[in-house]
């Protein structure tokens, strides 16, 4: 089953979606005003690569479908199959 993370399309989140798009095996699509970050495999997004300040980083996840958050700290956001 595909992992899907929903992230609201607002200016602060755009760089995060861009970093996710560059990760291997990850597709970034849109559903309404949300980015849909989808992958068959576990996904890791590096916080420093996104340039997101902490307040933005720690509030960027909008919804989880088929996956769970295995790591969400100052280094990375990592998603695993549920």
């Amino acid at each position: 089953m595909t992992h899907r993370l929903f992230m609201l399309d607002v200016p602060e989140n755009t760089p995060i979606a861009a970093v996710a798009r560059d990760a291997p095996g990850v597709e970034v699509d849109k559903l309404g005003p949300y980015f849909v970050i989808a992958s068959e495999d576990p996904v890791t997004i590096d916080r420093r690569a996104t340039g997101a300040r902490h307040a933005v980083w720690y509030s960027c996840v909008g919804g989880l479908d088929g996956c769970r958050i295995a790591q969400w700290d100052k280094d990375a956001l990592r998603l695993e199959r549920r």
Binding site: F6, E12, L31, G32, P33, V61, G62, G63, D65
Partner: protein, 228 residues
């Protein structure tokens, strides 16, 4: 059905009221340091319950015709405060983030205005304790002479329509899961994903239609389509 029944009628904060045991300090902080004018006061003899003291109820203008108000009760002994404020005291075991969760945030329109209040506070005995860029706002914080945390905040950008949708989906998800024993962020995000799948696309189409309506109104003008 009342013609008002589906309307959002309220117009901001009339006043938020707090007790004070230090009226002189309160006036120095709000009027003399921040520059909030005194706009109303009541000198009242204690009435009603036998033990009600005489009191002064006084108000400062916080902009937008909104007001912050204080009660000073003559003769009422001040509480000992080690953590919290004169209205609510907490034990040492209560985390600071919880104590700070209840606060008043006052809006300003720009970075210049925020920094002007920072300047006023920093020159006083109540300097700014924190300046933080949150997700979409930037704020300064201090505590007033009563121990109440006061925030002054500006928007970093205008709120977008999709943030209102997102807020509503979050709250609907929270209401759905909050009663589940032990429910946490994971349950919320799973429920919210279901609501996003259910509603996000329809919302987008609705928004698009609204924009197109607005555009065609602009082309047509109030008197109908323009002849070409």
């Amino acid at each position: 059905m009342s013609p008002l029944s589906d309307q959002h009628l309220v117009r901001g904060v009339d006043h938020a009221a707090f007790p004070t045991f230090d009226p002189a300090g309160t006036v120095r902080f709000y009027r003399d340091t921040l520059g909030f004018p005194v706009v109303h006061s009541i000198c009242a003899a204690g009435w009603g319950p036998d033990d009600h003291p005489d009191f002064i109820h006084f108000f400062f203008d916080i902009g937008n015709d909104d007001r912050i108000a204080f009660f000073y009760y003559f003769g009422l002994p001040a509480p000992q405060v080690s953590k919290g404020d004169v209205y609510a005291q907490f034990g040492d075991e209560t985390p600071e983030w919880f104590v700070r969760s209840r606060h008043l945030a006052i809006h300003v329109d720009s970075e210049d205005h925020l920094l002007e209040y920072r300047r006023r506070l920093d020159a006083s005995q109540w300097p700014v304790e924190m300046q933080i860029q949150h997700e979409t706002i930037e704020s300064i914080y201090t505590h007033d002479p009563n121990g109440y945390m006061v925030e002054i905040t500006r928007a970093l950008r205008p709120v977008t329509p999709q943030e209102d949708l997102d807020a509503n989906l979050t709250i609907d998800a929270l209401v759905d899961i909050a009663q589940r024993p032990g429910a946490g962020m994971d349950e919320l995000l799973v429920r919210k994903a279901e609501l996003i799948i259910e509603r996000a696309e329809t919302w987008q189409e609705h928004q698009r239609a609204l924009v197109e309506d607005t555009r065609s109104d602009q082309v047509a003008g109030p008197e109908g389509p323009v002849a070409r």
